[in-house]
């Protein structure tokens, strides 16, 4: 074993382990200290460290020519669990860490009226471990485990305010639907394992090509039938967390009663991770429409485009008639998840660039909108748009953030989401799918009408009832300002960001050769 081990090589493994370890430690810390402040400082510090660690991983991924491999216990792939991190997954890891850090900071004031926050923070850290673990793993069974960690934390986070009936109902519905999804994914894994004889992603990609991988050799059974059935189940299972029509029903109900911090993270990170997993299967393991499984992949790509279009239409049509601010923004997540699915379904590198860029832009803008909604609801105590009338004038910083976020999501140039939608339109045009641009425009127009409804109610209307004098606390205003600035900056810097950050990440996702080679080299070294 001549591997050069340096401490920095352990950073990828440290990210989920630190989050899980801290999640277990937090209730004990609270038991000893009985202090809410200690819990808050602890979580903000841990999420801050997580942000630093994921940034180091991102730096390593962008400065390396091949994916970063971390072998747990130095077991060679495919025997042991392996983290295989390329630029695509590293980028999503940082994005998730940013969302968690800002959510932790925001929660310290947002949850000031709630009790039992130590459990909320425990679940938040578990949620982070699950999301980052899903992004980093190179093993489909470990992916299942991390997805369970993510899901279970998410169900409980939705029901954090257990005195609110909508929260409990939303959580139960989400838990039932989500459990079915994870079970179905588990069944898909059994099909894959039974025919390929491996759970390692690089090994699977090698076997799809008919290559021999160390230890497992070649595939065991009929990979054609198994791939077809497994892929159908995988797309079905992950389209639930991604809230793609017709698997979207749970999302508005779950977001209504949940803390807005959960909604912001779920919209920005959990939805992205689900779509990322579908992309990883389609483009890295099965190697897209140019790979050996081209007909099966082609059928899934068509399904993604159809589901994306339906999500954009159904989401925007329902969004416009909502009266509850959280529910309205929740439907917007379905719309934007649809745009990302369309980008992934086009199947060209430009389509995936559009999808990845929109994942990042949507995460930023959606977190901004949810935090703004949280600020209003925190002061007024109601989510009804009529009750929020006039509150925007009392909270100018939040209202500026709301306007920026709403315009960004509606696709107003030169804000960030417009840029990703423009690339998506360009990708559709180049793929001879020009009529589908009309779907994006239609959904964007309806979304704009819905966002204007919020702006009209909170800012243009006179208050219908006496509003409290309270304004947004700095800890609730800073994330709003930061995200609003990011929406503008990402839009203005799009011509630089796309070629330097997004395109290399997409190149890595599509570079199956490199993905297989990196794992194979490590396996051969460790077996020597």
């Amino acid at each position: 074993m001549n591997l050069e081990y340096t401490p920095i090589l352990h950073v990828p493994a440290l990210v989920p382990i630190l989050a899980v370890g801290s999640a277990f430690a937090l209730p004990l810390i609270h038991l000893v200290t009985k202090s809410r402040k200690v819990c808050e400082y602890f979580v903000v510090t841990i999420t801050g460290i997580e942000l630093v660690l994921t940034t180091i991983v991102l730096h390593l991924a962008y400065t390396s020519t091949k994916p970063i491999i971390y072998t747990f216990g130095a077991w060679p792939p495919p025997v042991g669990i392996v983290y295989e991190i390329d630029r695509f997954s590293a980028l999503l890891g940082v994005l998730a860490a940013v969302l968690f850090f800002t959510a932790a900071l925001y929660s310290t004031k947002y949850l000031e009226k709630d009790y039992g926050v130590e459990w909320y923070y425990t679940l938040l850290l578990g949620f982070e471990a699950g999301i980052v673990g899903c992004a980093y793993t190179g093993d489909i069974f470990n992916l299942f485990v991390m997805f369970e960690v993510l899901s279970i934390s998410a169900y409980a986070l939705v029901a954090f305010r257990k005195d609110v009936p909508e929260a409990v109902e939303g959580s139960l519905k989400y838990a039932i639907v989500g459990s079915v999804a994870t079970t179905i994914y588990f069944i898909a894994i059994t099909f894959i394992y039974g025919s390929f004889g491996t759970l390692n992603m690089a090994d699977l990609a090698a076997k799809v090509r008919g290559l021999t991988f160390p230890v497992t050799g070649t595939a065991l059974g009929n990979v054609h039938v198994a791939t077809g059935i497994a892929l159908a189940l995988i797309v079905w299972a992950f389209s639930i967390e991604a809230a793609l029509v017709p698997n979207h029903f749970w999302l508005p109900d779950a977001y209504v009663g949940a803390p807005v911090t959960f909604s912001a993270i779920s919209s920005g990170a959990a939805v992205n991770i689900s779509l990322y997993i579908i992309a990883r299967y389609l483009y890295t393991i099965l190697q897209g429409r140019d790979g050996p499984a081209a007909p099966t992949v082609e059928a899934v790509l068509i399904a993604l485009v159809v589901m994306g279009c339906l999500s954009a239409i159904v989401g925007s049509v329902l969004m416009i008639v909502q009266k509850d601010i959280n529910r309205l923004i929740a439907y917007s997540t379905i719309v934007n998840s649809g745009y990302i699915a369309i980008g992934l379904g086009i199947g060209t590198p430009l389509g995936i660039v559009a999808a990845l860029f929109h994942m990042i832009n949507h995460a930023v803008a959606k977190a901004l909108l949810f935090f703004c909604a949280g600020n209003y609801v925190h002061v007024v105590g109601s989510r009804d748009l009529d009750d929020l009338a006039g509150v925007g004038k009392k909270m100018p910083l939040t209202t500026i953030g709301l306007v920026v976020g709403a315009l960004a999501l509606a696709g107003v140039p030169p804000l960030n989401c417009f840029m990703s939608k423009l690339i998506l339109a360009q990708a559709l045009f180049e793929a001879n799918l020009t009529p589908l641009i009309a779907v994006i425009v239609f959904a964007s127009v309806l979304s704009l009408m819905a966002y204007l409804k919020i702006i009209y109610n909170v800012y243009c209307r006179a208050p219908v009832k006496k509003l409290p004098e309270a304004r947004e606390h700095p800890l609730m205003a800073y994330p709003v300002i930061a995200y609003a600035i990011t929406c503008i900056v990402f839009g203005l810097l799009a011509p630089i960001l796309v070629p330097t950050a997004i395109e290399p990440a997409v190149t890595d996702l599509l570079n199956t050769d490199n993905y297989i080679k990196a794992a194979m080299e490590i396996a051969e070294k460790l077996l020597r």
């Binding site: 039938v225 159908a232 059928a299 899934v300 008639v321 009529d386 690339i423 819905a450 109610n457």
Partner: protein, 111 residues
């Protein structure tokens, strides 16, 4: 020219043009605030508060939209968005069955 750069140029020129027009408007228009009499809501002599004068959420343009597509909303609500889990699962499993059949046939026949 790069499409994204082009958009930035267009957007910048629009913002600049709007800013110039706004400055010109501020210079040309009278700076004093309108009298309270001018801003008072007038409804044929009736006493009308600003709260009553502004349209509520239900009466906003979305109401027109909702009425125009009443059948569409009725269909969407009654067929899927009922809030009942079994209704949701009908559509979800329908999609799963279609996906399974199509992908199985494609994998067996075309791959």
């Amino acid at each position: 020219m790069n499409l994204l750069m082009l958009i930035l140029y267009v957007a910048t020129s629009m913002v600049l043009a709007s800013a110039i027009m706004y400055v010109v408007y501020r210079v040309v228009s009278r700076s004093e605030r309108p009298s309270p009499e001018k801003t008072k809501v007038y409804a044929c002599g009736e006493d009308y508060t600003p709260e009553r004068a502004s349209a509520s959420d239900i009466n906003l343009y979305t109401a027109v939209w909702r009425l125009s597509f009443r059948n569409l909303y009725k269909y969407i609500r009654e067929k899927g968005h009922t809030g009942v889990l079994s209704d949701w699962f009908f559509w979800m499993y329908l999609f799963m069955i279609i996906a399974l059949v199509v992908l199985y046939l494609v994998s067996v026949t075309l791959w």
